[in-house]
Amino acid sequence: MKQNQPDPANESALAELHERFAPGLLRFFQRKVSGGGVSSQTYGDRADELAQRTWIEFWKALQSGSYDPTRAKHSTFLYAVASIIWLRSVREEGRNSRIGVLPDSDEWLPASQADDPSHAADLASAIEVIRRVVAGAEPTAPFGDDDRVILCAVADDCSEREIAAKLGVSPSTAHERKRAVLARIADFLRGKGIDLSQNRRAQEIPPAKNQ
């Protein structure tokens, strides 16, 4: 029978992680709840609450073994959990997301999936791979310097006109090249077994009941 007693070693590790990441996590939520603008004590309390919820989910994920440290760093996984908590909170409040980073988040992360901690692991893996690709640290990735310039520009929310200026090409050429690079990176992620859309579809189709 599985004991519900926490492992002291794990608790110690979590305490260390908490000490290391708590300030960043709090700032993450402070930026989110304030939309980068007005500040107030209410916002501060909200950020605190979301940070606490994130730690609980993070702890659960560690306990359940859904987090694989070989696929993503602790910081990446915690960030993924925090992003999902934020999306869930936005959805719960029934207001428009001010997340900025994920404006179309409802389509991307349906409620059922946002409640699934394993999705945080997939999200973290995807972000981890993308970071390595952008940094040129993924030796098997078929991306050249210009491709990485495009990826960096997209990450920085640059317009296609700005990308065109960076590459010294016309905006229409920049548009085509951007589309091609994004398609290739999606293929590359699929090749690594990462496809968040597939997770979404799997969530949308109820599994057949065992007879």
Partner: protein, 243 residues
């Protein structure tokens, strides 16, 4: 995954970098790094003073050029705007009398201000630096450390730090706390040229500790405010909050 999803992932990767930067320890012991802090502060102040000198020279040069240009284009008597008590005489031979003034005080050229092209002034910016502590914080390993946060502020209607009420700074600091449940907060609002502002957390900490008179002590209660710690031209307002 479609294009939009990949784009979102790319943006998240950038946001993750910010998250990791926020997680980096930005805490510095107040006691054992005093020498480094003082040295850094001295260097920062020297650089700032040099920049201010160059800016003054550049503005004076612009004024002189503008006035000379004006004198050459219209033969009206003009008193040149000068700095450093030096009078400038026009080399142009005017048709009317030229008034030459020596040892002028530093005054604006009232008679030509309407004609002189608009000069760029150095815009003031508002920055807040806050130091946070919990009971044993920011980390258990370093109970004498502060967690430093620094951000640009906009208090609306172009207000400078001198026009703020104390609670506004404290309210703002609650939004940017880098520790959970701070027990003691020191907030410093700064208004002035961007070039004079602390460029990084270390400089911000240096300035803050200097302002609090804390080079030799980590206790904010024992502090005596020292106004000679900010670069020239920088206004500041220091307030503290504690449970």
């Amino acid at each position: 995954m479609n294009e939009q999803e990949i784009e979102q992932l790319l943006k998240m990767s950038r946001e993750l970098e910010q998250f990791e930067r926020d997680c980096e320890p930005r805490v510095v012991a107040g006691d054992d790094r005093t020498a480094i802090l003082l040295n850094n502060l001295a260097v920062a102040r020297a650089k700032s003073a040099a920049r201010m000198r160059w800016a003054s020279v550049a503005i004076a040069a612009c004024l002189v050029i503008a006035v000379i240009a004006k004198m050459q284009s219209t033969p009206t008597p003009i008193v040149a705007p000068v700095t450093d008590n030096v009078a400038i005489e026009s080399t142009h031979q005017p048709t009317t009398e030229v008034q030459v003034v020596q040892s002028l005080p530093v005054v604006p050229a009232v008679s030509v201000t309407e004609e002189v092209p608009e000069l760029k002034t150095i815009p003031n910016v508002q920055v807040v630096v806050a130091l946070y502590r919990t009971d044993s914080s920011p980390t258990e390993r370093c109970p004498e450390c502060w967690c430093v946060a620094r951000w640009s502020a906009d208090w609306g209607e172009g207000r400078s730090v001198n026009e703020l009420q104390d609670h506004e700074l404290v309210d703002d600091s609650m939004m940017h706390s880098c520790v959970i449940d701070p027990k003691h907060v020191v907030v410093i609002g700064l208004s002035g040229p961007a070039s004079s502002m602390p460029k990084n957390d270390q400089q911000a900490l240096d300035m803050s500790l200097c302002l609090m008179g804390l080079q030799g002590s980590a206790s904010p209660q024992a502090s005596v405010e020292n106004p000679n710690c900010t670069p020239v031209g920088l206004d500041y307002c220091l307030t503290t909050w504690g449970k």
